[in-house]
Amino acid sequence: MRSVATAVVFAVVLAACGGLGAADREALARLEGRWMCDVQRFTFEDVGAIESELEARVVAAGYAVSDYAEFKAILAETPDLREQVRKAYEEYCA
C-alpha cells in the first residue's frame, strides 16, 4: 500500500503530462473493477500478499506499478473513469 501510495505522488505529475492513453485507462479500469470484486472473494496471508496479488495483476495486464499509480491518481479526479470501473465491476461480479 505504501509503495503504491508513494508512486501516486509522482504519478500526479505524470497524469498532468497524460502518460496513459484512453485505451490504457480503459484497460486499467477493467482491471480495477475486477480487482475490487476479487479482493473480497479471497483471503490473504498478510497485507503484503494483497499488494503482491494486485501487482501481479497489473504486470500480467502489461503495465507497470507506476502506470497503475498514475491510473489511481487520474481516477481520483475523473468521475467518468470511476464510472468505467463501476461498470467493469458490475459486469464481472454478476
Partner: protein
C-alpha cells in the same frame, strides 16, 4: 506469501446499487430482520444454526437499532457496502479479508472501519492505521469510487461453523461526521458479517528434504531434519531419534530437539530440527535413523514417524 482460494464460499455476491440499476436489486431483505438470512440459506447448502454460530438476541437487536429502511432520506448521498459476503476461513488460521465499498453522491473523507463486536474470532488492523482500518488507496471514497478495507482475523481451532463480527463505519462529508452505510437497501450504522469457518482436515506436518546427509568418520556434524507445516498452526514441536542405527547422537536440549526458529510450525512454513552426529568411532557406510516428531494442535497431540539417511564417509 500465498493467496488462498474461495474455499467453501459459493454465495452469490449481492451487488448493491441505487435505483439506477434495478437489475442488481438485492434479495428484498428490507424488513431489517436478520440480514444474514440469505447467506444462511445459501451457505454451502448446509443447515445453519444461529445458536451454533453464536448469534443471539443481542445481535438481532443491535442490527435493528439505528437501522432505517427508508431509503428516500439518504441525506445527500450514500456509502454502500457492495457485498457483505466474505470467503470462508479455516479454523486455527490467521488471514486477511477485504470488504469493498462505494460512494454514491458524496465524497467520504477520513473513512474508518472498526470491529465493535466479535464472536469467536479476534480482529486486528493494518499496522499503519493501528486501531482501525481504512481504504486501500487512501482515506477518501470519492463519489462513484470503489475501494476496499482489509481486516485481519485470528480464528481459533475451536471456532464453530461461522464466526460473526460487527463493524462500525465512520467518515466525514463536507466536514460533518457520518456513520451510516447501506447494505442492500437497508441503511444501518452497524454491519454484521457472518464469516463461514471450515475445519482443517489434511495432514498437519510433513517431513521434507530427505536427501542423505554426510558426516566424516572420526569427526562430527549437525544433521538437519526438515519439516513443513500444513495445518494452520502446531505448537510444542519436538523431534527425537527413536533408532540411531548405532550412531552416537547428541541433542541440543537434553533428550530431544526442536525447530531452529521456535517450537511452532505454521502452514506454509518450513523449519529444521538439528541433531549432532558424533562419528568419531563410526564405520564408514550408510545409516538410516528413525525419528519421530510430535506436536500439539489446539491441545490435541500429533506425531509423525520418519527416517533420516546419514552417510559416514572415510576421512
Amino acid at each position: 506469501m500465498k493467496v488462498r482460494g474461495l474455499g467453501a464460499w459459493i454465495l452469490v455476491m449481492l451487488l448493491v446499487v441505487g435505483a439506477a440499476t434495478p437489475a442488481w436489486a438485492d434479495d428484498g431483505d428490507e424488513d431489517g430482520a436478520d440480514e444474514v438470512s440469505v447467506l444462511d440459506a445459501r451457505d454451502d447448502g448446509a443447515d445453519v444454526d444461529h445458536e451454533e454460530d453464536g448469534r443471539d438476541e443481542d445481535d438481532d437487536r443491535d442490527d435493528r437499532d439505528d437501522d432505517d429502511d427508508d431509503d428516500r432520506d439518504d441525506r445527500g448521498g450514500r456509502v454502500i457496502l457492495v457485498s457483505d459476503k466474505v470467503p470462508a476461513v479455516t479454523a486455527g488460521d490467521t488471514v486477511w479479508i477485504s470488504l469493498t465499498w462505494r460512494a454514491d453522491g458524496l465524497d467520504a473523507t477520513d473513512f474508518r472501519v472498526v470491529a465493535t463486536k466479535t464472536k469467536g474470532v479476534d480482529v486486528s488492523y493494518p499496522a499503519n492505521t493501528g486501531s482501525y482500518t481504512s481504504l486501500w488507496a487512501d482515506d477518501t471514497l470519492s463519489d462513484g469510487e470503489l475501494d476496499f478495507t482489509a481486516l485481519r482475523l485470528d480464528v481459533p481451532y475451536d471456532a464453530k461453523r461461522a464466526v460473526r463480527i460487527q463493524l462500525e463505519v465512520s467518515y466525514k462529508v463536507n466536514g460533518q461526521d457520518r456513520a451510516d452505510v447501506y447494505v442492500g437497501k437497508r441503511r444501518t450504522k452497524r454491519v454484521t458479517l457472518r464469516i463461514p469457518v471450515q475445519a482443517y482436515t489434511g495432514a498437519d506436518v510433513a517431513q521434507v528434504n530427505l536427501d542423505p546427509q554426510t558426516v566424516v568418520a572420526g569427526s562430527g556434524a549437525w544433521i538437519d531434519i526438515a519439516y513443513t507445516g500444513y495445518a494452520p498452526r502446531v505448537d510444542g514441536f519436538q523431534v527425537v531419534v527413536t533408532d540411531a542405527a548405532g550412531l552416537v547422537l547428541e541433542y541440543p536440549q537434553g533428550n530431544y530437539t526442536s525447530l531452529v526458529h521456535d517450537a511452532v510450525l505454521e502452514d506454509g512454513e518450513t523449519d529444521v530440527a538439528r541433531v549432532y552426529v558424533d562419528a568419531s568411532g563410526a564405520t564408514p557406510g550408510d545409516y538410516t535413523l528413525s525419528v519421530e516428531a510430535s506436536w500439539s494442535k489446539a491441545g490435541t497431540p500429533g506425531s509423525l514417524a520418519g527416517t533420516v539417511a546419514v552417510t559416514v564417509v572415510a576421512p
